[in-house]
Amino acid sequence: MQTNKQVLTNMIVKESKIVAIFCLLILSLSSAAFAEDKVCFEAREGASSVTQKDIGEELKNVRCSDTTDGVLWWGDPFDGTQPMGDMPIEADYTHGEAVVKPRTTQLGLYPVCGLACHNGKFPPPVAADAPPRKLTMHTDLVPDALNLQHGKGGIWCLDCHDAKTRNKFVDNAGNLVDFNEPQKMCGKCHGQVYRAWRDGIHGKRIGEWASTGKKRWFVCTECHNPHDVQQGERKSGFAQLVPEPAPLLPKGMDNADHERHGSGH
């Protein structure tokens, strides 16, 4: 943020000082507004962020927990969504309007992927069947590429990411899949879960309960971190969360020792 601001102002200074001052003013104003906006997360901490804002009189897009920053309540379940697109497999699923939140807005590298990087020249492209190797890049996402926390050693980056068009995934038929439709890619290995998701049993939807109603579907990556579904020892696809505070103790009781197993019994 800070560095961007400086770069921008430096550029502008060359043009005209007055414009620069004006821009600086706007920038500082907007960053002041930023500071006040509360950022919460929906299901996956750090990867399903939403900024609280007013969407009407007395109405916020989300209300969040003061203790965990988790979203507790949606003022408008369809805020920031777009149509989901077709299901790859035609079947008997709900026929109401389906919308999703785009994933690409949550991804820091997406804007440069396929342009500055993986553009066919830089870095040198690899073959789709290139064997797993140690990586020096993306260690923040995948600390140890040779011990990918997904698929128990059986899968590799290019089973999901297309080798040539890196800002797309690839399905079993070699079709490119958009980052906003990860289900079409995940579904190629997780058919059963995918079908349950399509039926509304796996995952979740918010909006209208009627089977013909409009719903926002949560896509796979809004809950699962594709690069870490094993979580080491935990072996669980869903990362642990900080719980909301415990309920109020009954009047006259100052601790809950009575219910702690192993102490009272």
């Binding site: 007395e58 927990s65 507790l72 209208e208 009627a210 869903f238 642990q240 505070p245 415990a246």
Partner: protein
């Protein structure tokens, strides 16, 4: 109708919201009843009508509320009037435009709920979302309709259902005095680990099961709690006398009592309310989950369904085979809590 109604009003001091504080003593029901003595019912109503000519808007609505009938027995016009009265009072009280909805049950709809006990991670977001939505009391008068119980893995084992007496501590859930099921239902309410789920624990959220045969409805002496045609069990708070018989009758510990004056800060108040749902309550009345009647009758999922980060909560129309609940019932291992109590809950627990 008015004949049987009034004695209840006379006896009931608990149900008065802030009896002596909200209105000056001369205006409070207690004071009023003292003065009026045994005047006939009709003249009482006449007095109420006269009172509406005074300037104090709040006092007027309070007054009229004391004389309104049981919501279930009101005509459409009476309901409309009651709702308009409340909208005026709440809007003044909470400094915002409050709506009190009275949408009736939709034909062909029977609400049902399913919760995946294997997925639940015990994060308690459902309990907090419920408070955001349903205008429960906050702070030292905190009320939550949903309780999440932490159980040790192994405490609950469906395959042990037909076994003998529970070999562990806790409360026996299944069977009867002669043949127990071997299931214990004892959980921790107040667990506070850094992160959930904890190892070797599973979590069991409990809330109103919206029973088809609700024991709470059977015991209510004033019939202020009753089953609606879409299957939810509701409370007309204005008619509740605070006797708490329903709390004792509920096998699921789903009902809560306003022991004190509810504390609902203006900024936290959710202005979209339903008469039978999340409108602000008063001291001395019982409240509980209604599957968010104010939302569900307008088509929207209950707040707890939407907030669950793991998607463990499913909701829909039990009469619609395409609904999410029906799909769960058709494809998953399902059980109901304390099924032997013959309450026929419409809240199902399931496993993958």
């Amino acid at each position: 109708m008015t004949d049987h109604k009034l004695p209840i009003v006379y006896d009931n001091e608990k149900a008065a919201p802030d009896d002596d504080k909200a209105a000056p003593d001369s205006m409070s029901r207690r004071g009023f009843v003292k003065k009026v003595g045994d005047v006939s019912a009709t003249s009482l109503l006449g007095t109420a009508a006269l009172m509406t000519n005074t300037d104090d808007a709040e006092a007027n609505t309070e007054w009229a509320e004391w004389f309104q009938g049981n919501y279930r027995l009101m005509s459409q016009e009476e309901k409309a009037a009651a709702v308009a009265r409340l909208e005026r009072r709440y809007s003044a009280e909470y400094d915002k435009k409050v709506t009190v909805d009275s949408t009736p049950a939709e034909k062909g709809v029977l609400f049902g709920y399913a919760l995946n006990i294997q997925k639940c991670i015990g994060c308690r977001r459902c309990a907090k979302a419920c408070v955001e939505e349903n205008n429960q009391s906050r702070g030292d008068q905190e009320i939550e309709w949903i309780r999440v119980l932490k159980m040790e893995k192994g405490d609950f084992d469906a395959s042990k259902m037909p076994d003998g007496y529970p070999d562990s501590y806790g409360i026996q859930v299944g069977g009867n005095a002669y043949s127990a099921s071997g299931v214990v239902l004892e959980g921790e309410h107040y667990y506070e680990p850094e992160k959930v789920p904890e190892e070797d624990a599973f979590y069991m959220p409990i809330q109103c099961m919206q029973c088809e045969k609700p024991p709470c409805v059977k015991v209510c002496p004033v019939r202020t709690t009753y089953r609606e045609p879409d299957g939810i069990v509701v409370v007309d708070y204005n008619w509740c006398i605070g006797c708490r018989m329903c709390i004792g009758a509920c096998p699921y510990w789903a009902r809560r009592f306003n022991w004190g004056e509810p504390k609902l800060p203006k900024k936290d108040m959710n202005p979209k309310t339903h008469y039978l749902g999340n409108r602000p309550r008063m001291k001395g009345v019982v409240e509980k989950c209604t599957f968010c009647v104010q939302r569900t009758r307008k088509g929207r999922y209950p707040a707890c369904v939407e907030v669950c980060p793991v998607g463990a909560r499913k909701f829909g129309n039990l009469l619609d085979p395409d609904s999410e609940v029906r799909r769960v019932l058709a494809t998953k291992k399902v059980f109901r809590l304390k099924a032997e109590a013959n309450t026929y809950p419409k809240f199902f627990y399931y496993m993958d």
